[in-house]
């Protein structure tokens, strides 16, 4: 239990590091000529990274056989939601400065913003149902099905990034490859019958 607490604490502190780095940069004025763009990019990229890290937890468990790692999955997923929220707030506040008409136009008209906004909307129910109580209320099966939205959210996140870049598609492509690998591992495991229904469940308290 002690090891688990230490792991939780470590993951929590480490997950806040990107934000701390960003705040330090803002405070020191070292975010470059266009700080708002730098903040938008950092929060966006970290959302994507946390989504992929979260999706890597289960394969990591298969690989290491260490089931304890699944206990930090929820926290990692919530950090994806946290950075996604910061990304959205940056856009609404710093970038558009609450110009709601412009924001609605953007979401409707710009495919990359539509994709990003949809990805965020998909994360909302996942964050809301992340508590032990909600898992119990929904029942493991429904909960698990609902949380498959994480795959769609990650895919939309990659698409959001891909559609944004002008010519250099290498960074979004790298994320796309990582996501594809994480999904392929699952497909492979599924066909090998290595994923009995129950193993995908979070720890049940009832």
């Amino acid at each position: 239990m002690r090891a688990f607490r230490l792991l939780t604490l470590f993951v929590f502190v480490a997950s806040l590091a990107p934000l701390a780095y960003l705040l330090l940069g803002a405070w020191r004025g070292s975010l470059g000529a266009n700080p708002i763009e730098a903040i938008t990019r950092a929060t966006g990229v970290w959302t994507l990274r946390f989504m992929l890290i979260t999706l890597a937890v289960t394969p990591a468990r298969w690989l290491t056989g260490w089931n304890g790692v699944v206990r930090v999955r929820r926290m990692l997923g919530l950090f994806a939601f946290f950075y996604g929220s910061l990304h959205l707030v940056t856009y609404v506040w710093l970038d558009q400065f609450f110009d709601w008409a412009a924001i609605v136009r953007d979401v409707a008209k710009r495919p990359f913003i539509t994709a990003g906004f949809s990805a965020y909307l998909l994360l909302v129910p996942l964050a809301m149902t992340s508590t032990a109580g909600m898992i119990r209320r929904l029942g493991g099966r429904t909960w698990r099905r609902l949380h498959r939205l994480a795959y769609a959210a990650a895919a939309l996140g990659v698409v959001h990034y891909w559609w944004l870049v002008k010519a250099d598609i290498r960074p979004p492509r790298n994320y796309a490859i990582l996501l594809a690998l994480l999904l392929l591992v699952r497909l492979f495991a599924f066909y090998r019958g290595q994923v009995p229904e129950r193993r995908g469940l979070p720890v049940r308290k009832s």
Partner: protein, 315 residues
């Protein structure tokens, strides 16, 4: 000339001739406190001090009543894909870029084609300082005091022939020095173009400096184009070839994504990039976005070039 009547230029902003003539004296007296100020070691100042000052620059030829974007921002935040696709890459990767010797080939439909050494190319032209807005297609903008000379003066020198209709510019192709060219992000070398009447307009300049200093490598040294009413990518950097043609050139961005980047690429708040709005822009250093002006605020001078054209079609 149109520029002299530009509404931006006020007589109060033109350096007094007496003061101008005494500039060397002024420089001497100013040097002492300047050196002292350097001891404070602001990074921006130190960086600027690393570039040589350009001699005999006529100041105030075109001015603007808008705050200049600081040297540090102009020289650390820009697109120059030959040195990497991140806007901080050029400053990092262009440090050892060799701009001496430099030759510019001028060919095509001109009476005086040839390979011009950079020095010979620039020498006959008086250098002047012109403060222009720069509007990037990515919806950010700057105000930059360029040093250069009108493009039209060079073109007149090489005498375009009767059938000439366009001017094509090419950037150096040297993957050894330009790491960005080792990646096929765009088709190298970078190519840009102007219609001949656009090129002969008084506004476009060939720049060799900014803030009175030699142009830093990352900003397109030793010679770059500046066309203030078009999106920044039209202002091609590190030029090695200027070709006068009859056929409309295909620019690199046009070739890469024709539905997004047209040949003209005039700054136009009413024609969005397919993926983002061009109605507003973030002026570097400002928090709130400002409205983007038609032709980047130079409509009075250049709108006539496009009379009768559907700018939604010829974007």
């Amino acid at each position: 000339m149109i520029i002299r009547r530009a509404p931006d230029l006020r007589s109060s902003e033109i350096t007094d001739e007496q003061l101008y003539l005494r500039r060397r004296e002024f420089m001497k007296t100013a040097a002492v406190p300047a050196v002292a100020a350097l001891a404070g070691l602001s990074p921006a100042l130190v960086l600027a001090a690393g570039q040589d000052a350009l001699p005999n620059v006529r100041k105030g030829v075109v001015t603007l009543d808008e705050a200049l974007t600081p040297w540090a921002d102009v020289t650390t935040y820009n697109n120059f894909y030959e040195f990497g696709t991140d806007k901080s890459d050029p400053a990092r990767n262009a440090k050892n870029f060799r701009t001496k010797p430099w030759t510019v080939k001028i060919d095509g439909l001109v009476n005086k084609p040839g390979d011009y050494h950079f020095e010979d190319l620039v020498a006959p032209h008086g250098l002047e300082e012109r403060v222009y807005r720069l509007r990037c297609v990515e919806a950010w903008s700057m105000v930059i005091p360029w040093v250069g000379f009108p493009l039209k003066d060079l073109l007149k020198r090489v005498e375009p022939q009767g059938g000439a209709k366009f001017v094509e510019f090419t950037t150096l192709n040297d993957p050894k020095q330009m790491p960005g060219q080792r990646v096929g992000v765009l088709d190298w070398p970078y190519v840009e173009g102007l219609r001949l009447d656009e090129a002969m307009h008084p506004l476009p300049i060939l720049a060799v400096g900014l803030y009175g200093k030699v142009l830093p490598n990352q900003n397109g040294a030793p010679l770059r184009l500046v066309v203030p009413w078009k999106y920044g990518f039209k202002s091609i950097k590190s030029i090695v070839r200027i070709r006068v043609t009859e056929k409309q050139p295909v620019s690199s961005w046009q070739a890469s994504a024709p539905q997004e980047y047209g040949f003209y690429s005039n700054v136009n708040p009413d024609v969005d990039h397919p993926r983002w709005s061009q109605a507003r822009e973030r002026r570097i250093g400002e928090f709130l976005k400002r409205k983007t002006l038609p032709f980047n605020g130079y409509a009075d001078q250049v709108a006539g070039l496009y009379a009768g054209m559907d700018l939604k079609k010829f974007y």
